[in-house]
């Protein structure tokens, strides 16, 4: 943990490749949006966006080259976001599962 590389210089080639990948993925997500995939529409859009976000986080934001702690910070925030979405939706998706006479 003590061995951090705060001054790791990422080769320019990597930045360029990431940039190109981001543009290509944007094009893909626009194209895919015009195809009806039924239930998969939303997950695919979110997965592509998440791949793009991961590229930005790992390379542009240097997380791949930073100490592990930063990666942990990223995961903690994703975990908490999932809690927020998961528990809130657990209410809305199950509102009419149990029918009580009061309703």
């Amino acid at each position: 943990m003590n061995h951090v590389m705060p001054d790791h210089v990422v080769p320019l080639r990597v930045y360029l490749l990431v940039f190109i990948a981001l543009i290509i993925l944007t094009a893909i997500t626009v194209q895919v949006a015009y195809i009806d995939l039924g239930l998969l529409n939303t997950p695919i859009a979110i997965i592509i966006a998440s791949i793009k976000a991961s590229l930005v986080v790992l390379y542009f934001m240097h997380v791949r080259y930073s100490e592990k702690l930063i990666l942990l910070v990223v995961f903690v925030s994703i975990f908490t976001l999932i809690l927020l979405f998961g528990f809130a939706l657990s209410d809305y998706l199950t509102r009419y599962w149990i029918m009580l006479p009061i309703r």
Binding site: L69, V76, S77, T80, L83, L84, F87, A88, S90, D91, Y92, L93, T94, R95, Y96, W97, I98, L100
Partner: protein, 558 residues
């Protein structure tokens, strides 16, 4: 106790640094101007600024509580109108929660002690720390100003659609105040987390940290992860109120329950922001005053993290009868019981710490015992409320009022006052009168129970909260509660008086008056500006009383 050897070395330092104009051997003497306080970046001075702030707002909140209890002495609403009463309890709640309970222990003791305990010279970002205090004061004043602007009558929870569509109070102003205080809280948490990660002295590994620091670490995680959601929620309420575009308004397709989800996502974990620091204080107190290492150190440390994490799983138990899905209610109810596990781990470990210890009933220790009592009652009644069936019966009654006062007010105040007495010699360099301290602690404990225990009965019998008129059958319990509140009020006034007295006339405090472990006791009282003459190296577990005893006896012989 005798004068510590650190004391003498400190005086040498003050001589050697004499060429500077300011005396750096004592942070209190490093400047007497108003500017030297208001523009300070010293975490110890900022802690005292917080102490000033939270005490001031505690008094305002206390006066409001006094008026509420006075009104409730009679069944008729004869002292204030219903509208005024709504504003009273709302402002009481907002002030006590956001202006006192949330910032009190982290702002004052976290600020003062975390760098000292981990062997650092300051928090990682001293200027952000000062900015936090200013944001706190600005937000707090704005919230108080909203009282003058007609007040808020929504309850501290700002439930929609009442707060967005119907309430005619200064909701946006108060909301803005809380929004700003939220920033202060976030930056405090950020500062603590970075400091604990990055600024520990050589040898101060994670499992050598005092449990106070662990508790604050867990607290700062909640502050960082929870507070922003409250901020955006308040922002959305303001947007809806100002532009009349319904995000939560059912007549425009919005869902008021969504507000509750977002609100409690922060506000349930916020309860742990209030109580975790108090738990951290307790670990220190129980160990010091029974002169034993804390039993099950690792378990207490991990239970703090567990409480912080599980705290995010359970918010829906505030909404069991609100119209959320019964299925979600079932899950939230079941998960709520999980919180009892880490809480019980702590309580059992503290009591186990007492076993065969040499216990002294000093003032801080009386607060610690008080904490256990109040926290046990508050925590266990929380389990009642987490039960789906029981909650239908007591929801929105005084049972809930009593429960949350026990668990977050009682326990946190015990923690705050316990900490205030315990670290008072360190902060001011003066000893307080022990007899008065013990008396006040007992009066506060008794007063608190007198005030809030009758409310459990009231609630169980069906007295709803937020009402200022009630059926005459409830009067006797209400009178008991109001009488208890007077005792509690007197109890609170006592420390104000004798602590202020001790600043001027108190006996000079040695570096380590309690024979306690921890780095903060190895520097003079009050500490020098840069905390330590040289950064200490840590080579043993925390709560190592053998070494401290040897050192102290060594000093006594010399």
């Amino acid at each position: 106790m005798s004068t510590d050897h650190v004391e003498t070395s400190a005086s040498i330092v003050s001589v050697s640094r004499h060429e500077h104009d300011i005396d750096t051997s004592n942070y209190l003497k490093a400047g007497y101007t108003l500017k030297s306080w208001l523009l300070t970046v010293d975490h110890k001075r900022i802690a005292l600024l917080y102490l000033f702030g939270v005490t001031f707002f505690f008094i305002i909140g206390g006066i409001l509580a006094f008026l509420i209890r006075l009104e409730l002495v009679t069944p008729k609403g004869d002292l204030v109108s219903s509208d005024t009463y709504n504003r009273l309890f709302t402002q009481h709640g907002i002030i006590m929660i956001f202006l006192f309970l949330v910032p009190a222990i982290p702002g004052v003791f976290g600020n003062f002690l975390i760098p000292l305990m981990i062997g650092a010279r300051d928090l990682a970002f001293p200027r952000i720390n000062l900015a936090s205090w200013y944001m706190y004061m600005a937000g707090a004043l704005l919230t108080v100003v909203s009282m003058a602007m007609g007040g808020v009558d929504t309850g501290w929870t700002f439930y929609t659609p009442y707060s967005t569509t119907f309430s005619n109070g200064a909701v946006v102003t108060a909301g803005l105040g809380i929004f700003i205080i939220g920033f202060s809280s976030v930056f405090t948490g950020l500062n603590f987390a970075v400091t604990i990660h990055k600024m520990r002295a050589p040898g101060m590994t994670w499992f050598r940290l005092p449990l106070f620091v662990w508790a604050h670490y867990a607290t700062s995680l909640i502050m960082l992860l929870g507070t922003p959601v409250l901020a955006i929620t308040i922002l959305l309420v303001a947007v809806e109120r100002i532009w009349k575009v319904g995000l939560f308004d059912p007549s425009l397709g919005g869902d008021p329950i969504l507000f509750q989800h977002l609100f409690w996502f922060y506000s349930h974990p916020a309860v742990y922001i209030m109580i975790l620091p108090a738990m951290g204080v307790m670990s220190e107190l129980f160990s010091t005053f029974s002169k034993k290492p804390v039993f099950g150190y690792e378990f207490i440390a991990m239970s703090s993290l567990a409480i912080a994490i599980v705290g995010f799983f359970v918010w829906g138990h505030h909404m069991l009868v609100s119209g959320q899905s019964e299925f979600a209610g079932l899950i939230f109810s079941a998960l709520s019981f999980l919180v009892a596990i880490p809480s019980a781990v702590k309580v059992f470990n503290w009591t186990a710490t007492l076993y065969k210890g040499s216990i002294s009933f000093s003032t801080p220790m009386i607060y610690a015992f008080g904490f256990i009592g109040l926290f046990a009652i508050g925590g266990l009644t929380g389990l009642f409320l987490a039960c789906l069936g029981m909650d239908y019966h007591v929801h929105d009654t005084y049972f809930v009022v009593a429960h949350f006062h026990y668990v977050m007010v009682g326990a946190t105040i015990m923690g705050f006052l316990g900490a205030l007495h315990y670290w008072w010699p360190k902060m001011t360099g003066k000893m307080y009168p022990e007899g008065w301290g013990q008396l006040a602690a007992i009066v506060i404990f008794l007063g608190f129970n007198f005030t809030f225990f009758p409310q459990f009965l009231l609630g169980y019998l069906g007295m709803p909260r937020h009402y200022h008129e009630y059926v005459p059958e409830f009067q006797i319990l209400h009178i008991l509660s109001s009488a208890g509140a007077m005792i509690l009020g007197i109890g609170y006034l006592m420390p104000f008086t004798y602590l202020a007295y001790s600043v001027f006339y108190g006996k000079k405090a040695p570096a380590n008056p309690w024979g306690a472990t921890g780095l903060e006791w190895r520097t003079p009282s009050p500490p020098p500006v840069h905390n330590f003459d040289s950064i200490p190296t840590v080579d043993s577990k925390p709560y190592d009383y053998r070494t401290i005893r040897e050192e102290l006896s060594h000093v006594a012989r010399a």
